[in-house]
């Protein structure tokens, strides 16, 4: 990662870190990424536990790596911990941040899903799930659209890659890893 910043963390600081993520967990409707601005304000601007470069790199690496994007929070925790000492405090940072961001939301989802499952026949439950269905599908397409819009202006070949990839996945049974690999190769050799 970028040049390590040295910080000292007291137990009260670790506790504050845990509380921060516990609080954000319940606000993270639409995914943990939606609370990104608040994390940045707290971790980088207010407490200086992370450098700007470490924050940005954490998000970028988690996006490029396999697995759910929420793992950027593990990297944030890792960097905070490494800044505060070494790999051992790094692991502590990972655990504190991941448990903080996941414990409240997953508990709530587990309870809610159980309740919805037991009352699946209720008209209100059916209406809730089926009413939202077209909206969450459109939300997904909008997310892809926004990701594609992050391509710098005038980079039409990136748009072309996005379009071809979506048509191939939509219409054929080609394995997605081949497309990701092809995208990486095209990028590596500077074609896009």
């Amino acid at each position: 990662m970028e040049a390590t910043t040295l910080i000292t963390l007291q137990w009260s600081d670790w506790w504050q870190l845990f509380q921060h993520f516990i609080g954000l967990s319940m606000l993270s409707v639409g995914g943990a990424i939606s609370t990104l601005p608040e994390m940045h304000r707290f971790l980088v601007e207010q407490h200086h536990w992370l450098s700007e470069a470490q924050f940005t790199a954490s998000v970028a690496i988690a996006q490029a790596a396999p697995g759910p994007n929420v793992l950027f929070i593990a990297l944030l925790g890792w960097n905070i911990g490494v800044n505060a000492g070494g790999y051992l405090t790094g692991m502590l940072g990972v655990l504190i941040c991941m448990f903080g961001i996941l414990l409240p939301s997953t508990s709530l989802t587990y309870l809610a899903a159980g309740w919805l499952g037991r009352n699946a026949g209720m008209p209100a439950v059916r209406a809730f799930k089926q009413g939202l269905a077209p909206i969450v599908i459109a939300l997904l397409i909008a997310t892809g659209w926004i990701m594609a819009s992050a391509h710098p202006a005038g980079e039409w070949h990136l748009w072309l890659v996005t379009m071809v990839a979506s048509i191939l996945i939509w219409r054929t049974r080609i394995h997605m890893l081949w497309l990701i690999f092809a995208g990486a190769l095209l990028g590596w050799f500077g074609f896009i």
Partner: protein
């Protein structure tokens, strides 16, 4: 695609399945979940998948993590939920940490920068395609084609083109859509 329904054999099966799904998920795991769980393993029908996704998305927390937890819980309760959750997170977490450590060395290599751009462009396409495929799950929706289409287009326009915030879109479109479905269900009784 076969219509038959199948289910995971054990929590271990869930753990392994979700680990493999997560490891294939570059830039968005949902596309892989949809293909593996609906098209290959048939643990959920397209309709069930859309409905589970609606709940997973509306709840706070990472959507695809919520989804895996719910699929696990459907079959083996708390044990299943934890197994699916662990599958989704444990191995990918270790890989991400490893990449984080390696990143220092290669962050500015032009090939790496380009490859990440290329992967990002493909990942955007995967997500769009997953959304397009999920339209199959609307076939029997009580809203009907025209209204489903209206809510879908309005939501896309709000989020993608006019950058309206998510809570406002969910309240402004989700609430009326749910009320409409509720009334249709009531009338059809």
């Amino acid at each position: 695609m076969s219509a038959q329904h199948s289910s995971p054999r054990s929590p271990l099966d869930l753990f392994v399945s979700f680990t493999l799904i997560a490891l294939q998920g570059f830039g968005g795991v949902l596309a892989i979940v949809q293909r593996e769980i609906v098209e290959k393993k048939c643990w959920l029908t397209p309709e069930e998948f859309v409905e589970e996704w609606a709940v997973a998305q509306i709840m706070p927390g990472p959507n695809v993590v919520n989804l895996s937890l719910m699929i696990g819980a459907r079959h083996f309760g708390l044990r299943g939920a934890l197994a699916a959750l662990a599958g989704m997170l444990v191995l990918p977490l270790l890989i991400v940490l490893l990449l984080g450590i390696l990143y220092t060395e290669f962050a500015h290599h032009p090939g790496v920068v380009g490859a990440m751009r290329g992967m990002g462009a493909v990942a955007a396409g995967l997500i769009i395609a997953t959304g397009l495929k999920m339209f199959a799950g609307l076939a029997h929706n009580p809203l009907g084609k025209a209204l489903s289409g209206f809510f879908g287009v309005a939501c896309f326009a709000g989020i993608a083109l006019f950058h309206v915030s998510l809570p406002i879109v969910l309240l402004g479109l989700g609430l009326p859509a749910c009320i409409l479905v509720y009334r249709k269900l009531r009338l059809s009784r």
